[in-house]
Symmetry: C2
Subunit: 118 residues, 2 copies
């Protein structure tokens, strides 16, 4: 079955609440919309890939800031503290192990640990 | 480091010869250009994700044909015979275990088992 990314993105509008759109080899493919500033966190056992579908955002690291634009991706290695910041809304695709929790080791109100399949 | 997909695609022009552009959690992120007809094959231990960056192609299964267009993806489960066919050139992103060989169990001249990082 082919999955249309923009059609799936049209099904939700809230921020920082990833949806699952695919699963393979123990990894999830997720879509999310980001706007504003997330929390500093890390994932001790999971590398994360962020692919920008629409817009752009900044990935803050403790020692630098990296901008990821439409049509670009970045991989955040496990154990590295990071904080996504989006001045304007950005739509992204995530590839990461099914075990990944969005806020990693930080927890808090933004944690989404029961993700919806769309 | 952010990776620009179109810039990476501009670095090669041959068909059926995936390049590696990222690695995470034992998975490779690859880019490839397809044109023409591939061989029937399956991967006994690897699910494969095909995401179309530019163009479209048909994934042939033994019982059906599925068209995957620009901005769409599909996941081929392990063990399922498939054959990509592209009437016109298509650029795709692949997401699959690092162990995946393009021709799976079929082998032959189209096999590329020493992939280049770009």
């Amino acid at each position: 079955m082919s999955i249309n990314i923009k059609q799936k993105l049209s099904l939700f509008s809230d921020h920082w609440n990833p949806r699952i759109v695919g699963e393979l080899n123990g990894q999830h493919v997720k879509l999310a919309k980001l706007k504003g500033e997330f929390v500093w966190h890390k994932h001790d056992n999971e590398d994360e890939m962020f692919l920008v579908i629409k817009g752009s955002f900044d990935m803050h690291y403790r020692d630098r800031i990296e901008t990821i634009k439409e049509g670009e991706f970045t991989i955040v290695p496990r154990g590295i503290e990071h904080k996504p910041v989006a001045d304007k809304e950005v739509s992204i695709m995530l590839f990461e192990p099914a075990s990944t929790v969005n806020t990693g080791d930080s927890g808090g109100d933004l944690t989404r640990d029961k993700l919806e399949w769309i």
